[in-house]
Symmetry: C2
Subunit: 561 residues, 2 copies
């Protein structure tokens, strides 16, 4: 760029705003902004934690996008994982934005958009990782290949008026990838050669030493187990993990086993992967799930969802002998080709137990090595990328607070000044100006909870569910006599999840007496029903605290009689 000092002085800041994707490893969404131009990177879903009662998924807070929609030039997707592109249908329901993504992401997205009747009218633009840059407003964007656990994952060099920023979401360096090409180091180096103001990159593996292993190391394990199996074989992995699926098909074909794909999401993935040539096997390699029981079971390998122990998943139903089409045979081998992610350890162990009880020989990472490798780089990968790009500022993304800190410590060890590693929380931003970076808190975001019917669950409702889940509810129905203009000296009580009513007659009687006492005297005639309800609630709260130590949700209702 040749800018004279005049225009240089008139340049505005480039701003990076985190809508989601730091501190909790999911619902990724990053905004780059300059003047009247905004480009968004990723739009993923999050998975509810322990406290999300009846919530199926979480989406990012779109407020900032919607408020500034006239500035938005496009949404770039880094790769085809739910936590990076899964919330796009929710966003497109609100507003249309052109999407830029790799071919495989486009295919995966099309299925989603079709389901929501959103495909028509959506501008889907395919990114060619070996092709030229593309411009979104003032931003010039150059893609390059990275390795991850899904093909066609991309990193980006973003040329901005305040210098080049590298945005490299989930990645690792895999020198022997099974279906993708290697991380395009020459291109990345070339894009970095005029200097890089900041590297915004994945820090999830910041506590793992060395380099993350190659996906190819798993093939031998599959060959061995599937080759030697005497009965059915089941393999479970993430339904998005195409290379894992291909390796299972490879190992099965070698020994004349056909493959059954169990589950809709995995079926769709395999269909797309076959169409794009990632799983180069004819239709005959696969046996439809419907009717698979009529095949010789020792000639079949089942690839099924459920590697995180999800209730209702194919594998979970198979373990309980509740699957419509698949019956587990005694002596079957069940291979878990995934490590439990945080929050799923218990579920996975329970599922392994159930399968063992049902007669399966279960092969999982505690009893067998090389069943799974991570798609995320380790400390070695992080150091290599930093050494290739040589940024001035480091911005860890895609990890928790402690993983960001571990990443910072690693970068400081290889010479980065402590103050140049910027750990951002959701809603934080960085302003880049004249070669410097300044951190702010830009906006307050809140999680948006989506319930089973793809509707938003109110935080008020969630709070009530939390109380209900541990202490139940106590409803006191007070009767107001219209003619006598006063409350009756009695109350109807219903309660659920608090105490077992049949066994707690005394407690309930005590509560009734407490209510009646409250209603007596002046309050009996009161027409200030809100005050009466408050009073009754307070009385019951104190009564239950004293007698049971618990505080159910107390709900006084007044009925006119």
């Amino acid at each position: 760029m040749n800018l004279n000092s005049f225009t240089q002085n008139k340049k505005k800041d480039v701003k990076l705003i985190v809508i989601g994707g730091t501190a909790d490893v999911q619902k990724n969404m990053f905004v780059y902004e300059y003047g009247n131009d905004i480009v968004i990177f990723d739009c993923g879903i999050g998975f509810p934690g322990r406290d999300a009662f009846g919530v199926d998924l979480i989406i990012p807070d779109f407020s900032y996008i919607l408020q500034n929609i006239n500035k938005v030039r496009g949404l770039v997707v880094t790769h085809g994982h739910e936590d990076h592109f899964g919330a796009i249908p929710h966003l497109l329901k609100e507003v249309r934005i052109p999407i830029y993504c790799a071919k495989i992401v486009a295919e995966l997205l099309k299925n989603k958009l079709k389901e929501g009747n959103l495909l028509i009218g959506t501008s889907l633009n395919i990114i060619n990782p070996d092709g030229p840059s593309f411009n979104l407003g003032v931003f010039k964007i150059d893609p390059f290949r990275v390795n991850h656990s899904v093909p066609e994952s991309l990193g980006f060099a973003i040329e901005t008026p305040q210098g080049t920023i590298f945005h490299v979401s989930d990645y690792k360096f895999d020198w022997t990838p099974t279906m993708d090409k290697q991380f395009d180091i020459p291109k990345a180096v070339k894009l970095a050669q005029n200097g890089v103001i900041a590297l915004c990159s994945d820090c999830l593996g910041a506590t793992s030493e060395g380099f993350t292993h190659s996906e190819r190391e798993i093939q031998k394990t599959f060959d061995e187990y599937i080759g030697n199996a005497k009965e059915q074989v089941f393999v479970t992995t993430m339904s998005s993990n195409i290379s894992r699926i291909k390796m299972v098909v490879d190992a099965s074909s070698k020994v004349g086993r056909k493959v059954v794909i169990g589950g809709r999401s995995m079926d769709q993935t395999v269909e797309i992967a076959r169409r794009l040539g990632y799983i180069p096997y004819p239709k005959e390699t696969f046996v439809p799930i419907r009717g698979c029981q009529s095949y010789a079971q020792d000639k079949l390998t089942y690839i099924v969802a459920g590697c995180y122990g999800q209730q209702g998943s194919a594998l979970s139903r198979i373990a309980k002998d509740e699957h419509k089409h698949i019956k587990l045979k005694k002596g079957a081998a069940v291979i878990f080709s995934a490590d439990p992610i945080p929050g799923t350890v218990d579920l996975v162990n329970e599922l392994i137990d159930k399968l063992t009880l049902a007669g399966a020989e279960v092969i999982y990472s505690a009893v067998q090595e090389n069943l799974h490798v991570s798609g995320h780089g380790s400390q070695g990968d992080h150091i290599l990328l930093a050494s290739l790009v040589r940024p001035k500022y480091f911005i860890p993304i895609g990890g928790t607070i402690s993983l960001m800190r571990a990443y910072s410590n690693n970068m400081v060890k290889i010479g980065a000044p402590q103050e140049n590693v910027l750990e951002l929380l959701e809603g934080d931003s960085i302003s880049f100006s004249r070669g410097m970076a300044y951190k702010h808190h830009e906006l307050d975001t809140h999680d948006v909870f989506i319930g089973s019917q793809v509707d938003v669950v109110s935080p008020v409702v969630l709070k009530d569910r939390k109380t209900l889940s541990t202490d139940g509810i106590f409803v006191a129905i007070l009767k107001f006599d219209r003619e006598k203009r006063g409350f009756l000296n009695s109350a109807e009580i219903v309660s659920r999840g608090f105490v077992y009513m049949k066994e707690s007659k005394e407690l309930i009687r005590g509560a009734e007496e407490a209510i009646v006492k409250t209603l007596q005297g002046n309050k009996r005639k009161s027409r200030d029903w809100v005050a009466v309800k408050d009073e009754v609630e307070k009385t019951l709260y104190k009564y239950f605290q004293k007698t049971t130590g618990r505080t159910p949700l107390i709900l006084p209702v007044i009925v006119e009689a």
Copy 2:
């Protein structure tokens, strides 16, 4: 034993019944029975899993014990961990049984029994691991020292009319224990020399290769971190882990730091450990928690509870700056000397994040080795014990189903016949008769849930809480007019945790209409209120299924007006 064939023929079976302690790693309780004699091993609590709404702990099902109380000769405790002795007060509340345990268990138990006014009248008998055997009914019991993460842990050889059974709960071989003596191999071998019919032993580490490391290996890590710390040091570990606490005191004393014990349970443990000589430091080594802020903070080491990320624990409160007496300073070191147990991984990670945000340098196992070693043996320990005892039958206890299976596989590898490894679930039993063992399902047990006020939580209530937690409650109040002898054509609606009432007026109106429609016609005059309620519930169920896809707890109530 010299028995002639006559008495040999008249011998009854010896039975081992699992009340708890297989398949789910906790609430250990094992019954050995012969004719009119029963001896119980352990009586521990369990910790509620994901689905235990408002349940604080689980105790074993005492039914079998209470039904056969006249046979019970005593309760033997293997070691001082809650999942092995924590339910004793609950049992003693029902019935008095003589307790046999090591000195330290007796001390820990005394505190518990005092709190429940159960100490007086309880027969507490101290076991000397180097002393002679003791008899409980027909059973001759010989204790021997084993290593574990609490001192004075014991294994037992039980001489029965059907041969010698080894009962070895949680154990490992530690050649360099920090406060205990080594596993008493000579005594164990001697007790096994006349043949062992069965080895009933801990299988928790069955998927870990090699031998479990020695507790002593951690000392160096403490010395280093505490020696080099410039600010406050916090160490968190299980409050029962006396040797870990001693090592922290050792490391602190070397560099002139005094120690603050944060938390009541840990305080009691330290007090008992000091009294028994396990933590041989004078009172002056410790600074009372009240007023600890007036000491130079860089001369203090805090040992606090909260290593599993428990909400409300000392460390959790410190992280949130809500602790009454302790303030975290920027730059403080926080050492996690424990690995998260299943189900606590998320909580621990969240706590590490909070502490990091608060300015602490957190040292945990993902970033530092040798912060924790297990108290449970690994495959090597299991093989060694089997080789010393040479039992005919193998009974893995204290592990999950898949850990029992892993143990079985290991034993088969070293030559045990597959059919001689007996995996038991709760309620299963083994009958020993003439050198043979037969497995049965003996009785049906059920978990007993204890809520916050040490009362039993009914399964009905738990089921309701589960529904309430995901879908909330919908209460429909129907009014029956006594004079007109019919239901009014209206209903009062209250709902919590289902939909946000203010934003769901249309949904609620629809529900009201559905109710009114149901009440109209013949049903309006009905005096069969149960039928009316059923009808209304069904109608609402269908209505909500159709409109929201959710099924809250529906509660029709009839009020006479």
